[in-house]
């Protein structure tokens, strides 16, 4: 009964989405108030029914209703309740439902906070979001129905993939998808602007907070995924340049460029084409990511079960959506005039460079990800592109970018005088270079050119990001404090610095060793001694495990005991490694059990990973900076306005 309710609710959601998609857009075109008024109620209605559908699926899991095929394939009676819930989005059909739910939620948020926008504009935005919802709902109902039945129902299910039975991974998809789907809002804003033929500074101001929120969800989502892979996959890696990972990184890069380009459009009315194209690209890359993951076209450790029929549907949807947007762009962009000028040394120049470098980085990743497919399609054989390529390809645009961020942040709009800029940045630059040389060489014991540049760049940003907040903190009473926008920028850039330092140090100084150990034997890695004290068997709720006890000492003094496990899950019978990790702000010690080697020996992986926490901490700080920036007063002012404000060229906030 419940699954049928869920299925029916989804169909109702589709019919509401059709109303939401078609009527407001038609209404905006014809200036028909009644049609446009359909937008908000339809959006709320669609959300309600999608939520009902989602709850029905969750209920089926909690109830262990194995007559639902999806539940039977991804759950079992002994699965802990929290994972029965996260199993809802653990595979293709359910995760599509999550995607649709989040899209509906964003749409409701837009309807709620858009009272200040002109009706034609908000109708168009909600309408476009409605059309997108239609596409995803159709896809789900036609090719990926989560409520399909399995008769006769098996007595127990096939269990959730043990890899997914983890709190980090439980929460990673919702946050990640919130980011992916959130870029649809910027996309819808862009389409609305192109349809109306109007793109001005007010438009940029409206779009910015939505984009920042989507961006920061994506940042946290990606960081969570990386952190999860690190401790759960058992091998100590934190990024693998896997196509699915790249599929999340590309929208992030485009989104970052978009946020910055929007700043220019808002402040100076420039870069309109760039901003439009970036807004289209960010969501297009999200769509592309969905396609790559669900169509089976690329091989990946993360991809869902493959089905070319689904792939064709998504490809069609992709072509229609992105093609339509780009066609609109080709039509409207040429008439978007930028009259204001700027000198060579100005914030506009730096942000232009920012756009260019980020787009280059995105393109290089796209090339690397798609190259195997292209080569195979033209019958050039089967190739794979290894991680070192991505690392080099990314370092080339991103290292200069990181250095430029520090300068651009302090450069005035329109024209900046050279001497004051140098005066401000001279000291941080010297300290950064010193730190960049001293830390690798003396703290970690090695000098390398790329390493030093990376570390210097990291310290550079850390230091210069402090300049504006410090100046505000020590300001004379009565002078204006730093705006939230500027504070958010400083905090986010500080996070970038943390990230850069983490990556540089851990890439250069991480030590990995696979060794054979018998109980009582020890080995030295990264300055620590690791001794295998013994092994024992343990039982978990739905698994059995061999647990090793590893004692860690430094210079003979006891540091900690770690208990890595090798688990075998009862139903799926897959072996799984649970690593033991000793965490500290400046280093991780990572231990994982391999296999029994005979003669009482086990293979053990031991790793020393300096500064690795800064990678994720840096990302979280970036996201926090985004929250601060998005909460700037000027956005709230306009969100809560009681009457619609007509677009004019507003005074800069």
């Amino acid at each position: 009964m419940i699954p049928e309710v869920g299925h029916f609710a989804l169909i109702l959601a589709l019919s509401l989405a059709i109303c939401q998609g078609v009527l407001p857009l038609l209404g905006a075109y014809r200036n028909d108030v009644a049609m446009m008024a359909v937008a908000r109620p339809a959006a709320v209605g669609q959300f309600v029914f999608v939520a009902i559908s989602f709850i029905c699926l969750a209920w089926s899991f909690l109830d262990s209703d194995f007559s639902v095929l999806y539940v039977a394939n991804h759950s079992q009676l002994a699965l802990p309740a929290i994972y029965k819930i996260s199993a809802v989005w653990g595979a293709h059909e359910g995760s599509m439902l999550l995607w649709i739910l989040l899209l509906a939620a964003w749409t409701v948020a837009v309807s709620r906070y858009s009272s200040a926008l002109p009706d034609t504009f908000s109708s168009r935005v909600i309408g476009v979001l409605g059309l997108l919802s239609c596409g995803f709902l159709l896809f789900t109902l036609l090719t990926s129905n989560p409520f399909e039945r399995l008769i006769p129902a098996p007595p127990d299910g096939a269990d959730l993939n043990p890899l997914l039975q983890d709190p980090g991974l439980a929460i990673h998809p919702p946050i990640l998808y919130a980011g992916y789907v959130g870029f649809a809002v910027a996309f819808a804003f862009a389409i609305a602007a192109m349809l109306s033929g109007n793109l001005d500074r007010a438009w940029a101001r409206w779009t910015r907070p939505w984009t920042t929120w989507a961006w920061l969800f994506l940042t946290v989502g990606i960081a969570l995924g990386s952190w999860w892979a690190y401790y759960e996959l058992g091998w100590g890696g934190w990024w693998f340049w896997d196509p699915v990972e790249n599929a999340s990184f590309m929208p992030w890069l485009a989104g970052t460029a978009l946020i910055h380009s929007l700043a220019v459009t808002e402040k100076r009315g420039l870069f309109k084409s760039w901003t439009l194209l970036l807004a289209i690209s960010a969501f297009s890359l999200s769509l592309l990511g969905t396609f790559l993951v669900r169509s089976g076209i690329l091989i990946s450790v993360h991809s869902f079960a493959t089905d070319p029929e689904r792939g064709m549907f998504i490809l069609g949807f992709l072509g229609l959506t992105i093609g339509g947007a780009l066609a609109l762009f080709a039509w409207r962009a040429p008439s978007l005039d930028s009259s204001a000028g700027f000198r060579a040394l100005s914030r506009e120049t730096f942000l232009l460079l920012n756009n260019v470098l980020l787009v280059i980085a995105t393109t290089l990743i796209l090339i690397g990800t798609l190259a195997p497919l292209v080569v195979e399609v033209i019958d050039g054989g089967k190739i794979s592109v290894g991680p070192p390529w991505f690392e080099i390809a990314l370092a080339i645009p991103l290292l200069p970018l990181v250095l430029l961020i520090g300068v651009g942040m302090h450069t005035a709009w329109r024209s900046q005088a050279f001497k004051p800029l140098v005066a401000q940045l001279k000291l941080p630059a010297i300290v950064a270079i010193a730190a960049g040389i001293i830390v690798p060489t003396f703290v970690y014991g090695r000098f390398g050119l790329l390493l030093v540049i990376g570390t210097t760049a990291g310290f550079w940003i850390l230091l210069v990001s402090l300049i504006q907040p410090m100046r505000s903190w020590r300001r004379k009473p009565g002078t204006p404090a730093i705006t939230r926008g500027a504070l958010g920028m400083s905090v986010a850039h500080f996070g970038v610095g943390m990230f850069a330092i983490g990556v540089s140090i851990v890439s250069a100084f991480n030590v990995e060793a696979d060794v054979s150990l018998r109980p009582g034997e020890q080995v030295s890695v990264g300055g620590y001694e690791f001794e295998l004290r013994g092994l024992r068997n343990v039982d978990g709720p739905n698994y059995q495990a061999v647990e090793g006890e590893i004692e860690i000492r430094k210079n003979g003094e006891f540091v900690a005991k770690l208990r890595p496990q090798k688990r075998t899950y009862i139903i799926q019978k897959n072996p799984m490694t649970e690593a033991g990790i000793l965490v500290s702000w400046n280093r991780d010690l990572f231990v994982a059990l391999g296999d029994p080697l005979g003669n009482d020996a086990w293979s053990v992986r031991l790793q020393y990973k300096p500064m690795i926490r800064f990678i994720w901490l840096g990302a979280f700080v970036m996201a926090f900076g985004g929250i601060i920036a998005a909460s700037d007063r000027r956005y709230r002012l306009y969100a809560n306005a009681k009457r619609p404000l007509i677009k004019t060229s507003e005074a800069p906030a």
Partner: protein
């Protein structure tokens, strides 16, 4: 005309920078691109020179051997027509087992053995890497020849 010269210098520097970057990128691409070679081709010696490549096949039952207590392991991969012995000095992935389709990166060593740098198995119990599946499908045809020959003898 100083501003004009300055601008030309800037453009020139930028062009050099772009060329350098492009060159570096292309070279990195070439070096990090790995070909997939079918086992039957490896056995005939058709392997890329001087660079790592990928092989894939099914792990032959009973072929996984190691000295007790040692990390180094040897196993045989098959594409159902030919076999290749692989040696690997490291921890095998969780889902590595006999009968599983796996992929290895590395190069040919002396004695016709493949020395693997990396061994990959996806985290799904019945996943078969597509390259391996295709290679198996191709080489199963050899079986047909054997069957026909057997029938003729009978």
């Amino acid at each position: 005309m100083k501003p004009r010269q300055q601008r030309m210098l800037a453009v020139g520097l930028a062009a050099v920078g772009v060329l350098l970057a492009t060159g570096l990128t292309l070279r990195a691409f070439q070096e990090n691109m790995m070909f997939f070679v079918e086992i039957s081709d490896v056995v005939q010696g058709k392997v890329p020179d001087e660079r790592n490549f990928r092989v894939g096949g099914v792990v032959v039952d009973g072929s996984v051997t190691r000295e007790p207590g040692e990390l180094e392991v040897e196993f045989t991969l098959t594409d159902l027509e030919n076999e290749l012995v692989v040696t690997y000095d490291g921890i095998l992935p969780d889902l590595f087992r006999e009968g599983q389709g796996i992929i290895a990166h590395g190069r040919m060593g002396d004695g016709g053995k493949f020395i693997a740098d990396e061994v990959l198995a996806k985290h799904d119990e019945n996943y078969m890497p597509p390259e391996v599946a295709e290679s198996l499908a191709k080489h199963t045809a050899a079986k047909e020849a054997t069957i026909v020959a057997d029938k003729k003898e009978q």
